[in-house]
Amino acid sequence: MVEGRAITGATASLKRRVISGVLALLLVGGAVAALAAFAYGRAAARESYDRLLLGAANDIAEAISIQNGAPVVDLPVAAFQLLALAPDDRIYYSVRGPGGAVLTGATGALPNPTPTASPSFFDAKMADENARFVTLARRFAERSFSGTVTVTVGQTLRARTEMALGLTRDALIAAAIGGIALLALAVLVIDRAMRPLIRIADQLAGRDPHDLTPMDAAVPAEVAVMVGAMNRFMARLDRQVAAMRNLISDTAHQLRTPVAALRVQAELASAEEDDARREQILTRLQRRTRSLGELLDQMLSRALVVHRTDAARRVELDLRDVALDVIESRDHELVAPNREVVLEIGDEAVMVMADTLSLTEALRNLLGNALKHGAGRVRVGASREGARACLWVEDSGPGPSAEVLERIGERFEKTAASVGQSAGLGLSIARAVAQAFGGELVLAATAQGFRAVISLPAEQEQR
């Protein structure tokens, strides 16, 4: 199933999302900057051209002198050169004596007949065109003339508008260049940040479907979580596939011999004419069949345990409950009705992080072994020993020989299989369970007999 990366149902790519987010941010920022720049440009243009206007009005006011008892204006060219700095704007000027008598310049009504202050700026129309005006007053107190002369100067707004727009445009050009640079940088950064993801995607796409080895974990922390989860998942899958493969091969191996033996016995039985001997063969056949059934039970239980230790959630549990459960189920009375089985547990809880079913199965197998191969009274118990939590079974016999002990706990034992018995398998289950929960299986002779212990790291009891 080596597919491309285009998976239906996938939402928009992260890269596109981030880039469109950055773009939207820049656009909003640009709009705000444009408004701000225009407001600023207008204020700046108004301020600078108001100064020109006032300068020109002052020049004209300075040029007023009293000659023969009347104010006379020697209109200064400089004032108009100043106003001509706004090259395309029309000019209004009017100089009025006391009582509004026109001395020079425009006649007719003033755009703002009653100036409130000196100088006073105001907006008004100049022949259908918006314009800005300033009025200022100059007082004369001379022997021959006394009174106020007002100077009104106005100018249309072309240069102001142009300046405001020019400032806005310049600001926007700068902002646009900055924005584009920022966007390019963002694309670059995002591309770099996304690279590990793309590499992982490429690795996954190019991976052999049967390859369950862990992926390269040299990735950023955020992605490492994902890769870690995936690696754990693959490892479990790998273990389970391996377990399944083992189970199948074990089962095939274990069953081949007994089933062949059964077939031979059955053939013998059908060919036997002597009733007594046929009876004898049938009895053997029966025993073999039962033993085969037990073997199958154990193999299934082992497969179950191996599966559970991998898949089941670990919970906090008390080993005393496990021991109690096994004793109270009274399965051992079916196997060995005449044997004495004793439960030995203390007051103190023996807590571990594990799976109840797996531990129960392991303990049941150890108990079965003790009943089958051990001797005398069998004791089952759970106890804390330092930092270890122990679940144990002890019989009063001498235990298996050193040679057997050495081989014991392998996945299966040829001897056990060949005789249709399963001590090895039981031990192997117990060992697998112990190891799955971070512990070990300890087999040792004691003063009373032989003891099998599932020793796990103890969990601090939480109160």
Binding site: V72, D74, L75, A84, D88, R90, M126, A127
Partner: protein, 346 residues
């Protein structure tokens, strides 16, 4: 019709132009097809000078006829102002040498806007607001009678002219002429520009006063006077009119200290009925072909000054800008004319 009636109508016909000179066009002419509507062009330029250019224009733009009216500058300014205030312009285009008056008309909001590649290509000093365009370039020159003025006396600068006027022997006493600035809008404009240009102007006035200079009206009369020996030297004469005559008795000097360059102002009134024809005429006048026509007519003398000693940097175009409004100011003009009168002893 009786002989009496014929005589009366002849008298009326003779009297009409003389009356018209006061408040109407001095002359009229029509270019292009005789029938049908025509755009009205009012100008201060002589029909004979601008005629060939307009012939060329109408020949290249069939369907457009031009009614040409020749006006005196002050009368043209008055009627344009009146028509502007009435909001009804009979003229579709106005072309005047008194550019300060044209600037004032535009400043009053009387002009319509137009922009084309040709008009936008004009230098800044020759256009204003896309409403007024300087289509010609004509120098203000000093002319002299070649018989009365020996070569060593020919004034190539204003300083030389001053020296000439200060001479004691009185050879040029009463023989120097210039425009009467009260009667001639152009003369006033030149004198005003002179007053802005350099400190020589005060000395010049004083010189005119000492030499009993004559202030008189009209380019044609001044040039004729110089040609016939009535005047030896005339100051600030429009070079294009001198050139048009090609008179061997008249020598021309482009003052080397600075030569004022006049650019006639072309304006399309806001209420013009045939603005598009007026715009085409403007584009034609600014086109290479139109400029060639104007050059032939002597209205475009920016190329190589005939007196090649005048450097190009000495050519001062009278900038079409609101600064010219100062020239029109009532009190400024009164003060200026009072000063002028004092110099000429009126």
């Amino acid at each position: 019709m009786t002989r009496f009636a014929i005589l009366v109508s002849a008298l009326i016909a003779a009297a009409l132009p003389a009356m018209a000179q006061q408040d109407g066009p001095e002359a009229r002419a029509r270019f292009g097809p005789a029938d049908g509507p025509a755009m009205v062009l009012r100008s201060t330029t002589d029909i004979t000078v601008l005629g060939p250019t307009l012939e060329d224009f109408t020949a290249r733009n069939p369907g457009i006829a031009v009614d040409y009216e020749q006006w005196g500058s002050n009368a043209l300014y008055d009627i344009s102002q009146r028509e502007c205030e009435a909001g009804q312009s009979r003229a579709d285009a106005v072309l005047s040498s008194a550019v300060h008056q044209m600037v004032d008309l535009v400043n009053r909001g009387c002009a319509g806007s137009y922009r084309s590649t040709a008009s936008a290509g004009l230098p800044a000093a020759r256009r204003w607001r896309d409403q007024l365009w300087g289509v010609t370039q004509e120098p203000a020159v000093i002319i002299y009678n070649t018989h009365l003025v020996p070569p060593q006396d020919v004034p190539h600068t204003r300083f030389a002219l001053l020296d000439l006027m200060r001479r004691a022997e009185g050879r040029y006493q009463g023989k120097i002429a210039t425009y009467e600035i009260e009667a001639s809008g152009l003369g006033y404009l030149f004198a005003f520009e002179d007053s802005l240009e350099a400190s020589t102007f005060g000395a010049l006035m004083e010189g005119f006063s000492r030499a009993d200079a004559v202030a008189t009206c009209c380019s044609a009369e001044i040039i004729k006077g110089v040609s016939q020996g009535e005047y030896a030297i005339a100051y600030n004469v429009l070079g294009s009119y001198v050139n048009a005559r090609r008179d061997p008795n008249v020598g021309v000097v482009w003052p080397q200290d600075y030569t004022l360059m006049l650019s006639r102002g072309y304006m399309i009134p806001k209420s013009a009925g045939q603005a598009s024809a007026a715009q085409r005429l403007l584009d034609f006048l600014l086109s290479p072909r139109g400029q060639e026509d104007l050059r032939t007519a002597g209205l475009l003398l920016n190329g190589e000054p005939e007196d090649s000693a005048t450097p190009a940097s000495a050519l001062h175009t009278i900038a079409i800008s609101p600064v010219l409004l100062v020239a029109l100011d009532r009190q400024k003009r009164a003060q200026f004319i009072a000063r002028w009168r004092a110099a000429f002893g009126r």
